[in-house]
Symmetry: C2
């Protein structure tokens, strides 16, 4: 198979309600676009959610790391490329490039996915999925950003607490992956966004939360530019962790 | 000018993070799409925000009313048509049709816009805008839903209170029009959304709110299916009002 067919390319424009007060695309919206691209790319190649669901399997996002030199500005066109870097038995690595209106690569992202059986909620073997055909799409396109790292949070005083509401919930009844990003970025004071921008953003999705769950946000300020955040539901169970690096 | 050129048509798909737990497109996302279509339609015809901004004018959304028989389901294609119904000296009425994957009209929307001078914040005369050319686009396409109505709220006990955060704020430094919709729909219990759907949704935008403003939500339950909501900032000034009708 040619390398070109292994890479999917998708066009976007930075819509007005998708940019922040600086006029730059928000990290939540970019994350949404990346996950949509993952879906388009997988569906077009026969291993998308619709196909998997027929066999009672689905994709579960485990890790996401995004690193950018700049974010598209309001009304600017940009595109996202995505490809599969590795397929292991229980995980697959999918990478992304974010390309600005002039064709310049302004950022990259890495994601890690598992496949689970919808009945048992147990992980499934990716190497046997559709006769192992996903392996045919593995591509050695470079992705020059670090892999998602381990995130440890020590703070035991929540910085904020909220209850998961209607708008947070997706078709599976879970708080959706993008809403966590928005809630985490809402922890920081506006002054930080006035003088700095997010260079790298990481999410580790650990467990699901549901409508009515109380989500508490614990934050370690590692240094003036780096924050580690842990989200717990109902005071105990970890839901996700995040690393936010400004510059 | 032909009636066809007066109507703009735009294609969408109901993305996974844009649907609620029922798998239906959320009202906030639909509102976002409608406002984008308004922008595309106006820009393509020479009276969009970019052109206006050069002359120090901008569009301000005053009213929005959406009424639907059903919402697009996850992954379904749908389209939005928009056209100008009336142009007055200080306001213009722009209407919309929402069309499902099979070409059936499943809903309509009405919006009312003013134009303001960015320096004085005073309303501008639409009939003299670009030599009055906006009037050439007035179109008599039917829009068989009621006009936005007057909304009165009597409750003086807030149902919820929140502080406007980073993710709420748009490029103008205001809480964005779509976020109000989401916050208002988050007032209702999940049980309501399990058994009923929103048939009609209205917004009246009265004043701007800003980062850090405390937004209080006052709600009159007019009957089991109809709710009138008023949003005030910092305990006093009305920011917007809404009418939510379930069925």
């Amino acid at each position: 198979m040619s390398e070109e067919n292994k890479i999917g390319t998708y066009q976007f424009v930075a819509e007005p309600f998708h940019v922040d007060f600086n006029g730059r695309l928000t990290m939540g919206v970019l994350g949404n676009h990346l996950l949509n691209c993952a879906g388009f790319h997988a569906s077009d190649r026969g291993f998308g959610i619709a196909t998997l669901n027929e066999d009672n399997y689905t994709w579960v996002l485990s890790r996401l790391a995004i690193e950018l030199d700049e974010m598209p500005y309001q009304y600017e066109d940009f595109s996202v490329q995505t490809w599969v870097e590795n397929v292991y038995r229980l995980f697959t690595d999918r990478n992304f490039a974010i390309i600005d209106k002039d064709g310049k690569k302004i950022g990259y992202a890495r994601s890690v996915w598992a496949m689970i059986n919808l009945n048992t909620r147990k992980p499934a073997d990716l190497l046997t999925l559709h006769g192992g055909s996903i392996v045919d799409y593995v591509c050695d396109e470079p992705c020059p950003i670090e892999k998602p790292s381990r995130i440890k949070v020590t703070s035991d005083q929540p910085m904020a607490t909220l209850t998961a509401k209607y708008s947070d919930i997706d078709i599976n009844g879970h708080v959706n992956s993008i809403r966590y990003i928005e809630h985490i970025l809402d922890l920081f004071p506006i002054e930080l966004y006035k003088t700095k921008r997010i260079r790298r953003f990481e999410m580790a999705y650990v467990a699901e939360s549901y409508f009515g769950d109380e989500l508490s946000f614990f934050c370690d300020e590692v240094n003036a530019n780096e924050f580690h955040v842990e989200v717990k539901k109902n005071g105990s169970e970890v839901v996700c962790r995040s690393k936010v690096i400004f510059e």
